[in-house]
């Protein structure tokens, strides 16, 4: 018996000894809550894939932590001022642009092959073919022609004047992917045969400071320094991205030391869990809550006769104490939104209506619109109809359900009855929103890029209809001629001052007409170990790992 007990104790101690060894600071283990479906930068658009790729596959340009466009693969950001971007006339007489991209001369793929304009040409040609399955071929189909000057310099001729002329995506390695494409009977099969999914450990796929060296589908990805990286020397021998989908388990892994940090780009802990952790372990980690470009808002059903009245829509905003909601639920860390434009965005204007909490004003607006408080505290109109509005969101999303309850209570105080009827996310996004069958209000989040045009959500060209197979994302069916004209103008206005004027007008239209109820900008919680230096969250879609070579253990 004693022998058995001793054996058991020895076994446990042995396990404890090995499991208890802390990760050496040569390694950084990052916990995320999702696993990517593909690593090809042009297939699918997933936050987790972008995050992982940013360690090893660099875009030509990216917005930095100060939300300024910068060169990653190029030597100098093309601008009109430095002459690397020029206006030119197209053969058909329309105005276009010529953009010169100079790739850094010491760039190499992980197998030592230089990154050259061959890669640029290959990526462009593949991106031009809509059948190649790129989930976003717009970055490449802006160019109608490319003149190769030398191995590192190319002039891209754009078919129109576009404000995003100096924003360029990742390159595909021509020496790896061209043979794959050449073997395809149908280019549509590229997404099934790309080396990024068939052999993701191929070193030649990576031109960043790290490259993937181990891949366990659904579980973890291990990265090691790219030996051919010519930039700042990476600070870790291994970076491990570990997928733990349950956020409570992810939090427990952080506490146990099985993961060193949790990614903050919307693929880590929710803000409530992060706040709870900060209360529990204030000194163990560094916490940063970075406001992001994702804004929580409530779409309004334009076909609802009650909500068709702008006075009711404004009353809904006045009656919602968004600042108190943010203070109570999120310790004030998520900035209240006036429009879809984040205050950090260069095109933000503060000169719009903001609708701070004012219950009296809300009631006055409702009264003006013909809604008077009834015996049960809920407003009624002349016909005796109750002011009752249905609110839906993604069922099971704890934070949104809390927000709903707060709003329901605040609106009730302003004599508005709210009926909550939630749906699973796939039903909400798969049917309800795109077919606009929600009867009243629909709450969800929306992400965009720095300076991204609101065409997708507010442009009349993007109203989902049966005719376009419900392809657009303007779920509120917003149609305003001035907004449409501004969207078009903003896409090609290169003067930053004039650009700001156009954006100010768009924000004013949004704030005046209230087609959507803006709530707040999400703050993404970044929880990192105190010994990690050089970590700089950005808050936008060009994530912190784009500068991962600066992350050091200190």
């Amino acid at each position: 018996m004693r022998l058995r007990a001793a054996l058991a104790a020895t076994t446990i101690l042995a396990f404890a000894g090995v499991a208890g060894v802390a990760q050496a600071k040569d390694d950084l283990v990052i916990g995320v809550s999702q696993f990517p479906s593909s690593l090809n930068p042009n297939i699918d658009s997933e936050v987790v894939k972008l995050y992982i790729n940013d360690f090893g596959i660099r875009p030509i340009t990216a917005f930095d932590k100060d939300w300024k466009n910068s060169c990653l693969l190029c030597t100098q950001l093309p601008t009109l001022e430095n002459g690397l971007a020029k206006l030119e006339d197209q053969p058909d007489g329309k105005a276009g642009m010529a953009v010169t991209i100079k790739l850094k001369p010491d760039l190499k793929w992980g197998d030592g092959i230089p990154v050259t304009t061959k890669d640029l040409m290959f990526t462009w040609k593949l991106g031009l073919d809509p059948a190649s399955g790129f989930s976003n071929n717009h970055p490449w189909n802006r160019a109608t022609r490319i003149d190769v000057v030398d191995e590192h310099t190319a002039v891209l001729h754009l078919s129109s004047v576009t404000v995003s002329y100096n924003e360029w995506d990742q390159l595909l390695p021509e020496h790896i992917e061209a043979p794959v494409v050449a073997k395809l009977a149908n280019v549509g099969d590229y997404i099934k045969q790309t080396t990024f999914t068939r052999a993701p450990l191929t070193p030649g796929l990576y031109d960043g400071p790290y490259m993937i060296t181990a891949y366990q589908s659904g579980s973890q990805i291990v990265m090691e320094p790219n030996p051919n990286w010519a930039g700042e020397k990476p600070g870790f021998k291994h970076i491990v991205i570990k997928t733990i989908e349950n956020t409570s388990a992810l939090q427990a892994n952080l506490l146990s030391g099985d993961v060193d940090m949790v990614a903050g780009e919307g693929i880590g802990l929710t803000i409530d869990l992060a706040l709870a952790l900060r209360k529990q372990q204030p000194a163990k980690f560094d916490y940063e809550f970075k406001p992001s470009l994702t804004y929580e808002h409530i779409d309004i059903q334009s076909g609802n006769p009650i909500l068709a009245d702008v006075r009711v829509r404004r009353a809904l905003l006045y009656a919602a104490d968004r600042q108190t909601m943010v203070n109570r639920l999120f310790e004030g860390l998520q900035p209240v939104a006036a429009t879809w434009v984040n205050p950090l965005d260069p095109n933000y204007t503060k000169d719009t209506a903001t609708y701070p909490y004012d219950a009296a004003k809300a009631k006055a607006l409702l009264a003006e619109a013909g809604w008077k408080p009834g015996g049960d505290g809920i407003c009624r109109n002349d016909k005796g109809e109750r002011l009752s509005i249905e609110l839906t969101t993604t069922a099971g999303n704890r934070l949104r359900e809390l927000q709903e309850q707060v709003l329901q209570s605040q609106w009730k105080a302003a004599c508005i009855d709210t009926v909550i009827r939630n749906e699973p996310a796939r039903t909400l996004f798969g049917e309800t929103l795109k077919k606009r069958v929600y009867p009243g209000l629909a709450m969800y989040g929306w992400s965009s890029g720095v300076g991204e045009s609101p065409r997708r959500t507010l442009g009349s060209s993007d109203i989902p209809t049966a005719a376009n197979n419900y392809g657009g994302s303007n779920y509120i069916a917003f149609k305003d001629d001035v907004m449409d004209a501004d969207i078009t103008k903003a896409a090609s206005e290169l003067d930053p001052a004039k650009q700001k004027v156009i954006w100010a007008e768009m924000q004013k239209i949004y704030a005046d007409q209230v087609p959507v109820l803006p709530l707040f900008f999400r703050a993404e919680p970044h929880i990192v170990p105190k010994w990690l230096k050089g970590y700089t969250p950005t808050g936008h879609g060009d994530f912190s790992p784009l500068w991962a070579e600066n992350w050091k253990s200190g």
Partner: protein, 317 residues
Amino acid sequence: MTRFIINRIWQALIVLLVMSFVIYGLIGLMPGDPLDIMIASNPGATPEVVAHLRAIYGLDQPLMLRYWHWLMSALMGDFGFSRIHSQPTLEVLGPALLQTCKLLIASFVVSVVLSLVLGIIAALRPGGFVDNTISLIAFAGISVPVFWLALMMILVFAVKLHWFPASGMGNIGDGGFMDQARHLIMPVTTLALANTGGFIRYVRASMIETLRMDHVRTARAKGAGEGRVVLVHAFRNALIPVVTVIALNFGTLFSGALLTETMFAQPGMGKMIYDAILGNDFNLALTGLLFATVITLLSNLLADLAYGWLDPRIAVA
């Protein structure tokens, strides 16, 4: 016996065909299509891009035509391409199956052994202190949510005591047998504890009933020792209903260890099927569910064969 097995295989094939049709149809009835989420998160997903992607994935075809294409390919051994993993379905299925086998077989063995031992002990003195204690443990096992149990295991054994890793399948640069075993201890224990409670109740009830039978009384009257009476005369007879329950559970476990797999980041069949259904990945969901059906049918066939071994009076031919 051979004829019996052949007949059962034919039945299984028919069941599989019907199931494939039903599952494909049901997944097709779910709202939305696989590209909806991509559209929401992708600034560049214009209606034209989406139309091209739908064509590439065959989503522009009617559901029945897609099913027919899938069926014809499957009969040739090609189970299609998984959209959410960007790999052929069988290449996704393989590692998930291996992981599930490790988790499932280990937990199943622990669970069955524990439940047989505790169930028999409980049945020896029904209503006594030991029986009540074991019943309490069994009910706790049945009642405690797997999610909570898993979280408590992580908090106690990984966060507080640092005995075992909280998640994953192996450490960087290791991945040897001991490393993998260490990573399996908590998920296996969680899954085993969750299943043992129910099994104990079945074993206990079956043993109590068998111990009251005439042949057991006769064995005792003939002077057989209590150990022989319980283990030889009663236990074998008591096993027949228990085998049925265990066989049915085996198939369910194969696709149903979702929570354990999720909590301990051990992606197996349960997680794979769940993600495939949510992601409208028809090929993967269908192949995974059909595989789970095959396992259930196989385990039932084995149960039928086991009946004949346990009680030769039950003929299978």
